[in-house]
Subunit: 269 residues, 3 copies
């Protein structure tokens, strides 16, 4: 694995886990263009690497991410169009490309959500596979209060919690805590300081019981639902099932099942 050099992310590989820390704590890890580019490069670097099984996204300094960097946004307001391309639209659209890439990562993605989980940070929370929140984290979509729509993240929020709740959160700018985030389906687990580390550890243990390529195939199948016709999803799923069944993970997994022992991948870590 060759990781990119980064200045706004701190990358900590630890055996089969890559810890990705958002590292602009002085602005509650607000995302600027550099950070978005580094997220993209990091996920691209591991896209074909099955030795990294899990990515843990977290923010330094007690906040996950306060959203887009308003200073960056103010600066772009005066940028003129070049060759018919609006630089504001292009900048915005790129963030959508990056969070879609994170959603499609073959690894299992986990977010640890503390402090501010706002705007674009809320969007990131909505695309990870497993979201673990501190009970006192602060979630919300404050964009419309600034006079702009939550644009690139809108689709991912709708996908996560449904059109009805997504609209309400965006149209009211309501803030809410980790417990409510779990009720809404934004996150899967809520913890306090005392239980956070054990919840992360238990989640990693659960994920490691599942075969890496099988997990990647599962994500690839599930993420097609709604985007392509049902018959096409089922055809693709059958092809992936056959490939998996003839592959080394199924050989080991079914042997381990018959022998009533843990498969090799469960002992990796």
């Amino acid at each position: 694995m060759e990781l990119p050099a980064t200045t706004t992310l701190r990358l900590e590989p630890d055996r089969d886990v890559l810890h990705v820390w958002l590292a602009r704590p002085e602005v509650r890890n607000a995302m600027n263009g550099v950070l978005i580019g580094e997220l993209e490069a990091t996920f691209a670097a591991i896209a074909d690497d099955r030795s990294v099984r899990v990515v843990v996204l977290r923010g330094e300094g007690g906040n996950f991410c306060a959203g887009g960097d308003v200073k960056d946004m103010v600066a772009t307001r005066s940028a003129p169009a070049v060759d018919g391309v609006d630089p504001i639209a292009a900048y915005n659209r790129r963030f959508g490309t990056v969070i879609a890439a994170i959603e499609r990562a073959p690894q299992v993605t986990i977010a640890v959500l503390e402090g501010a989980v706002l705007g674009g940070g809320f969007g990131l929370a909505c695309v990870v596979d497993i979201a673990i929140a501190k009970h006192d984290a602060s979630f919300g979509l404050p964009e419309t209060g600034l006079g702009i729509p939550p644009a690139q993240i809108a689709a991912f929020v709708v996908q996560r919690i449904g059109l009805s709740q997504a609209k309400r959160l965006a149209l009211t700018g309501a803030r809410f805590d980790g417990k409510r985030a779990k009720e809404l389906g934004v996150v899967h687990e809520v913890c306090d300081d005392r239980t956070l580390n054990e919840t992360i550890a238990e989640t990693l243990t659960q994920v490691r019981r599942c075969a890496p390529a099988a997990n990647a195939a599962t994500k690839a199948i599930m993420q097609q639902v709604g985007a392509v016709p049902l018959d096409a999803v089922l055809d693709d799923a059958a092809a992936r099932f056959a490939a998996a069944t003839r592959g080394p993970e199924a050989a080991e997994g079914m042997l381990a099942f018959v022998q009533k022992r843990q498969p090799s991948w469960a002992k990796d870590a």
Copy 2:
């Protein structure tokens, strides 16, 4: 704003809010052809009017809406097809056009749900942005008990609460109260007599903190999800984001943010 003359609705403009009262209390505000046409005309009249920021839908006499007017339906049973157009199908289809228009209204829509919220009334409840229910309201889809499917509203109920719960409600005709409606995701808030007015007031305050055009753009983006490919949603969102960022609301919103004051639209009411 020029509002249509209406006989089955009572329209009460109040600064930036239009109160729309269903006004056939003698039949629990059951919808006939006149009422459906007046709903359509009312939302059409304000579609391009940003001075109306919120529409509050409510029923007179303690009921929201008991559904389609059965007497009207019985009368149409003997209507013959004209030029190959089945008048029953056309009548029914028109209701779908109207509730789809309400769903796409650029305003924030709020329903206050008391008493009967049945059939077509349930459908209306499923398309507003924010649904506030009295705890003792009575929700349900009684159509199949009459020998007909909940036809035009089916898609909107599925969109609101998912296929699984929508099917169960329709196939059993189950009645349920406001608390259960919130658990199912039909509504967002449950109140009693004592807290209803303050819940409505608080919701209006929250909505007014959000910029009107940004809210309209947000609805337009979110309502595309699932209907068009993800990339097209993200492209449209980027274009709307750029337009908003270059527009007057973002200028005011970002200035207010930097100056740590409320933006102008939050003081409108």
Copy 3:
């Protein structure tokens, strides 16, 4: 009604209800090729029969269904492709065809979920109209622990509980009980031994109040949502509404409504 001869299912017609028992209790009703074929034949036999209004799916011996039969799967691993058709993919794909057919059954389908509700059994639970679970049933998607993806059922699980929860369950292999299954939306009712029979009876009573053809039309409409454009759903719904309104069920249903009596179909059982 002419039912197929079956060896892995026990079919018990009882007036308007067909009880379908999965009958391989020695392997916790794991599904092999024979059972899948018999499920297909059974639902095909009643597809045009409105005298069967409800199908109740249940497992013999205290388990619903432990999923695919691993012995069958191991045996297929060495099967070669024939004429370019991979027999593993074809076997797997066929299961998708069968559960899609169960989902589209014109009857109201009920599953009684006890003991193991795993893998393919979990998939079956996700396509019935009404799922009733024992509180101590054991739900989960263990496939990835065996090195294979939950392939054909993935789309139906996503449809039932959303992409977010579906991914988490599959990528962690988490087991959970009936109460949690209700919170997630996998099932609609949770019972204990004492209340199971009365819950089933009450559900049948509710379903019987609803007209059989109207229920079938409702399912047909709702299951299009998301798969075809909204306007097409509304057009189809209007045509079905008109046909129903001109039909015998609406004649009886509206007369019974006016006469304040139960319609004929509510007295069938």
